[in-house]
Subunit: 144 residues, 2 copies
Amino acid sequence: MRARDLVTDFPTVTLDTSIAAAARLLAQQRLPGLIVVDEQGMPLSVLPGTQVLRLAVPDYCQEDPALARVVDEEHADRFLRSLADRTVREALPPRPRELPITDPDATLLEMAALMARTRSPLVDGGRLIGAVTLQALLDRAVSA
Amino acid sequence: MRARDLVTDFPTVTLDTSIAAAARLLAQQRLPGLIVVDEQGMPLSVLPGTQVLRLAVPDYCQEDPALARVVDEEHADRFLRSLADRTVREALPPRPRELPITDPDATLLEMAALMARTRSPLVDGGRLIGAVTLQALLDRAVSA
């Protein structure tokens, strides 16, 4: 079993994609994150879905989530809705994390090692082919 | 919008559930992790899917995923398949992470703050009701 047998097409966004569009992709396709590519389609970074939320949550609530309780329901809803107009560029962490890139020949063990350490490996065979998800890997791991 | 409006039923496992069964749940329902409960159904911990993989990956490959390349395909497959007979108990990290529990009245902002810090909050209203997923939260954040 090699990466090429497990890779799945994965939606990509650019730095200028709106958070509204990114959130829709995350929600509709039930993804934990999105691949951010440059204009040439080369992977730049991975945007974790939780990072999108951080944009909407004031610093004092991030340090102590219990403080969010003092904000009433109407304003709480508004914080989240304010996300829609921002862009992926604003949501990326200042120090982007290690991009887990592998090649189409990687074995199950290589993919598992990468995933245990970082996140879903991106598969690059000259161009970005897609990603291997935890679920696809586990599915193959436990089925004969 | 409150936690009770967003909570979804979430599959649970116990410490004695086999990794084969846990992996099947993660794969089939495309989940990032599972809720581990005790015999009374009270949440004990969250088992991240990547932690399941760690069980199968030898220590030397976790430190340096490139070392996994020296293991040939047949043996690489075997490492992953060896997972099936283990149990959830063996996969849990030695120091389980903070359990993000909230109540049915939590606002969108409280849930987002918890999620940005830890993971999907579990919703407990006397008993475990379920969890709020990133995707459900983002879906509501950018709609309407």
